[in-house]
């Protein structure tokens, strides 16, 4: 991988086996095995995807529902291993996917900061140092000592966002996260992300909102049924996308 490339996606394909009925118990499995009935409907959520993002570039991923956008983000962030091809990334990666989904509901906000922080790969010393900053940014105040199960969904995403963005990542992966919380918090989030942009972070951004992609990104790609159909400067790609959706 070249020095100035932050994310390289090469020949990536992601295959899912769609069973008509999901076989998840032994009896069914053996019956079907004996009847040679274990058929799978192959479904390629992504196929032959190739692109590179240079350091500091901000790439928007456009596409209709079910076009493979979220699968692509999961492959890049390492949650899913691609069936074919390789994904390589350089530097610290901060995935902001479905914020707060990994919280433990019985745990208080404070405990979840340490737990979720550890999941994201931070160490204790770092979290101790940044603790006040996280609480401060989330605006949760004294609610930080309350179990997460009593939080509203907005509060959860605020805490999730605050924890995930406390590192200074080299690569930021955003999946519709800018639609969390109230307007005030949203503005705060955008501001924070903008300061990361200024530091030259590389961004992979998924959104349905063309306007948001045009505002935040300088490059874009379009996915259609798992294939890459356009790739280039954001304005050019946006025009193609408009034609496609109209």
């Amino acid at each position: 991988m070249k020095e100035n490339v932050a994310i390289s996606v090469k020949d990536v394909g992601m295959r899912f086996n769609l069973n008509q009925e999901h076989v998840d118990n032994l009896k069914e499995y053996f019956i079907k095995l004996l009847k040679r009935d274990l058929k799978y409907n192959e479904f390629w959520a992504l196929k032959g995807i190739n692109f590179e993002i240079k350091r500091g570039e901000r790439l928007g991923v456009l596409g209709l529902n079910g076009s493979g956008k979220s699968t692509l983000l999961k492959v890049v962030s390492g949650v899913l291993r691609p069936s074919t091809g390789i994904v390589r990334t350089r530097g610290v990666l901060a995935p902001l996917l479905e914020l707060g989904a990994g919280f433990s509901p019985q745990y208080t906000g404070r405990e979840n900061i340490y737990l979720y922080g550890a999941v994201l790969g931070y160490n204790k010393k770092f979290l101790d140092e940044k603790f006040d900053e996280i609480v401060d940014f989330s605006g949760l105040g004294e609610f930080i000592e309350v179990p997460i199960k009593n939080y509203s969904s907005g509060m959860k995403s605020r805490l999730g966002f605050s924890i995930a963005t406390i590192v200074e990542p080299d690569i930021l992966i955003l999946d519709e996260v800018l639609s969390v919380g109230d307007k005030k918090f949203r503005t705060k989030c955008e501001k924070k992300i903008m300061t990361m942009f200024d530091r030259g972070v590389t961004v992979l951004f998924v959104s349905h909102s063309l306007e948001q992609v045009q505002r935040l990104c300088n490059k874009a790609i379009i996915l259609d049924s798992g294939r890459l159909v356009a790739h280039g400067p954001v304005d050019k790609v946006a025009r193609i996308y408009k034609n496609m959706t109209d």
Binding site: F16, N17, D24, N25, L26, K27, Y29, S77, G78, V79, L80, R81, P95, L97, E98, A101, G102, S104, Q106, Y107, E111, Y114, L115, A118, V119, L120, G121, Y122, N123, K124
Partner: protein
């Protein structure tokens, strides 16, 4: 080297392992008044019940019978609760696994280790009961570490194995709970082995590695005599084999987990 890479990767996640172990232990006793004290009270109470039923009611008045029962109970409940927790470690952490990349074995290891920690705490009960019933420890008590470590390795192997199966077949959970019951009756927890050996069924113990650990633990703690080397070797071999099989099975399938949970 591959091995080096794995170890380095593991060390990167040791803080996460610590946090997960802490979480498992903390949440287990959260909202109970006595909290972590239950790790001591619970085995003590079951020891009393088992002694009452299988000792007093069956007309046995052996002074150290409570310790006999307690040794078996403590080790066996570590084995059963840790394998049960390991079994659910992947499917139960689905939300996390689907969102952020973390080596998935961390979830299994953390659930086994948290049970191991509560087990170690509960050994305090054994010390207390030993003092009350005036069991004199001998130098052989030091070798108690060996069956404990063998049992830990065995649980880890079984946990990885079961966790993998549980992702694909939910039946495993029910099968395993029946299997643990079977193993528990075959482990001489609350009856003396002579009863079974007397009927010519000694093979029950000869094929049960969990029993072998319990027997060696009793040799070290209760009887103050050297370990049964044959039991030690056999259970050790089973434990290592289980760990290798479990680890390989888990490793080979881990990329598929996310599609099934």
């Amino acid at each position: 080297m591959d091995i080096k890479k794995y170890i380095k990767n593991f060390l990167n996640y040791k803080y996460l392992l610590y946090e997960l172990v802490k979480k498992n232990i903390k949440l287990k006793y959260r909202r109970s008044y006595l909290g972590i004290l239950w790790t001591l009270i619970e085995p003590l109470l079951t020891m009393m019940v088992l002694t009452l039923v299988f000792g007093t009611l069956f007309g046995r008045d052996d002074r150290t019978f409570p310790i006999y029962v307690l040794c078996g109970r403590l080790l066996f409940s570590f084995f059963s609760s840790s394998t049960k927790a390991g079994l659910k470690a992947v499917s139960g952490n689905a939300a996390m696994i689907k969102k952020v990349y973390v080596p998935k074995y961390i979830y299994v290891i953390s659930s086994i280790i948290s049970n191991f920690v509560t087990f170690l705490i509960s050994l305090i009960v054994l010390v207390g009961v030993g003092i009350v019933l005036r069991v004199h420890p001998t130098i052989y008590i030091l070798q108690a570490v060996i069956p404990i470590i063998i049992l830990l390795v065995m649980s880890l192997g079984a946990g990885l194995f079961l966790a993998t199966l549980d992702v694909f077949f939910k039946d495993v959970e029910y099968i395993w709970s029946v299997a643990t019951m079977l193993i528990s009756y075959a482990s001489a927890i609350f009856y003396p082995t002579t009863r079974v050996i007397g009927t010519g069924n000694a093979w029950v113990f000869e094929i049960n590695p969990v029993y072998m650990c319990i027997a060696n633990f009793r040799n070290s703690v209760l009887y103050g005599q050297p370990m049964n080397i044959e039991y030690c070797v056999r259970s050790g071999v089973v434990a290592v084999c289980l760990l290798v099989i479990g680890a390989v099975l888990f490793y080979k399938n881990q990329d598929k987990f996310i599609l099934h949970i």
